[in-house]
């Protein structure tokens, strides 16, 4: 599989009145062409900030202190604002969590899509309109012609999300970032939106970065998974491998913290709380919640080591680290 996007050692801080919030602490992640990568973690783990960084949308008071984001070999962080705008919305598109507020309330659904095509691709008004109709059909609208004329307040949550997806697809992006695309939707509608994303990725060849806190969604939608905790990437693995052999203590805790309908489990919440990113512990940021924390975890930040095929974990309990710690 070819590499589409590679984030390396990304460090992002935010200046606030309370002090410096160290949101991302050296994140490394690769997205391959055409795959669906799940990015999971609790609130405050840095999932959405990672997405914003990829889109070049970290603004003051946020600062990128280090790292690179290479998209098809080009470091997006070195681009000027003008150059970046050739990627944002065209090569890399986004589906937001708050589909209600992300749509313009005074512009019809069809016009929101066609306007985008006029801006990004210089299409004529008529051509853009035709393409908008096609896109609404592609995302499974029952009556695309009618939907073209409707305004966001006339649409259900699921329909708004479909319009958002159509907008994201308008420019045939290579990478689609979906930030909690089903949060707030009813389960039957959410299941259909996820089906749609899977289907679109297959049909258009676009890679999808699916940000979610729901491991069920990950298991049934993604091919690979990256787990984040408090601004650090703790584990990446193919989806089957992650659920069969979760390695990092945090991943294990996440899996046993959710009730499920397929089997009976004893609920076991993740211990402790996400540490404050104003004063995060040095070394591994999971140390204060970890049942296996060692002395070394308090000083050094664990590197990612391979524990299986395409399976990496950042924990001193594994691989070469475990020898060093012994």
């Amino acid at each position: 599989m070819s590499k589409l996007l590679e984030v390396e050692n990304l460090v992002v801080h935010f200046d606030t009145d309370g002090g410096l919030v160290k949101v991302l602490d050296g994140v490394n992640v690769i997205i391959n062409a055409g795959e669906i990568l799940g990015l999971v973690g609790e609130s405050g783990s840095g999932k959405s900030v990672s997405a914003a960084a990829i889109l070049g949308m970290i603004r003051r008071p946020g600062r990128i202190l280090a790292g690179s984001i290479e998209f098809e070999g080009i470091d997006l962080l070195r681009l000027s604002e003008d150059e970046m705008s050739r990627y944002r919305g065209r090569q890399i598109a986004m589906i937001c969590q708050s589909y209600r507020t992300a749509l313009n309330p005074v512009i019809s659904a069809g016009r929101q899509i066609s306007r985008l095509l006029e801006i990004h691709q210089g299409s004529s008004r008529a051509a853009a309109r035709r393409r908008a109709l096609e896109l609404l059909d592609l995302v499974g609208a029952a009556d695309p012609a009618r939907l073209m004329k409707q305004y966001p307040h006339q649409l259900s949550g699921g329909m708004c999300q479909r319009v958002m997806i159509a907008m994201a697809l308008a420019t045939s992006p290579r990478l689609l970032i979906a930030d909690e695309p089903t949060t707030g939707l009813d389960v039957t509608i959410a299941a259909r939106i996820l089906e749609l994303l899977r289907d679109l990725s297959k049909r258009t060849g676009a890679a999808i970065l699916l940000i979610t806190h729901d491991l069920g969604v990950v298991a049934q939608t993604c091919q690979r998974v990256a787990v984040m905790h408090a601004g650090q990437l703790v584990e990446t693995a193919p989806v089957r491998e992650l659920f069969r052999f979760p390695a990092h203590p945090y991943t294990r805790a996440l899996v046993s913290a959710i009730p499920r309908i397929d089997i009976e489990i004893r609920l076991d919440p993740v211990p402790g709380a996400v540490p404050s990113l104003l004063h995060p512990p040095t070394g591994c940021r999971y140390q204060n919640r970890c049942p296996r924390a060692m002395e070394i975890c308090r000083h050094d930040k664990p590197r990612q080591v391979a524990v299986g095929q395409d399976h990496e974990v950042a924990c001193f309990a594994f691989g070469e680290h475990s020898d060093a710690a012994a």
Binding site: A191, G216, A219
Partner: protein, 324 residues
Amino acid sequence: MTPLLEVEGLRKSFALTGPTTWAARLRGERPAVRAVDCVSFAVAKGETLGLVGESGCGKSTVARCLLRVIEPTTGSIRFAGEEITTLGGRQLRNTRRAMQMVYQDPTAALNPRFNARRTIEEPLRLHFKMTSAERRERLNEIISDVGLGTDLMERYPHELSDGQRQRVNIARAIAAHPSFVVLDEPTSALDVSLRSRVVLLLEALQKRLGLSFLFISHDIATVKYLARRIAVMYLGVIVEEADSTSLFAAPRHPYTRALLSSVPVPDPDFRHERLVLNGEIPSPTKTYVGCRLRSRCPLAAAVCAEPVPRREVAPGHHVLCHLA
């Protein structure tokens, strides 16, 4: 044994007014949203009944009618053997002491100008004559029950975390020794790791205090974990009610099947037997003769236009469907 709570034929409709309904009103019709359209169920002492369904199905309206936060249009609600739809004044207040509610949004449910202590003591002040020493003693009992520290008691809602706020809400609900608590999506606004903690807390409280719960949620996995019996609502009616085990092993109503087959399962090899409904939930202003799911149901047949009887398909397993 008579159940603690018995609801029979509960209906609640909200009249529609305003300019869009004038034509219908001229024709002599009375357009209304039938939020709850003949719902019956019972909750035994110490039991949890789970009520699931999607937005707009009427779950929260049922909850509000039970506590008479809003008045039911028709129907009977018996609590501890007493009809409460006709109660007023002091009697109603006494009943309300025994029936409490925890809301979905832990922030909106708290008065921002009350600190945690005052919030939790409020029901004690309303329902009991207690000296301040007695109140303090009871407060300490309650907060140790829900796992809050005394150091948090002087804090205001904005100084508490989401998880702590929901614990304050739960503390307030159990303060006056209720026997029945309605939990309306108590975990939906919380982060994943907090959710499981609140679920475990509710489970422990129920065991220790012998509480009965009506647990309302669209999070079906959590309902399965907490509830022994589950009722599934669709468009104002309960379409299926059964033991948790038999509901998950053999769901009979097409809506239940569609709902369960949409729940994401954290196992990449798990394959649902998918049943997909057409379109989206129709308007609750219509009056229905036959099955309400008819227009969306892939299994619909001619018979579905006829009124649907509630049938017992297995012991304790009730379904509202011609075909099940």
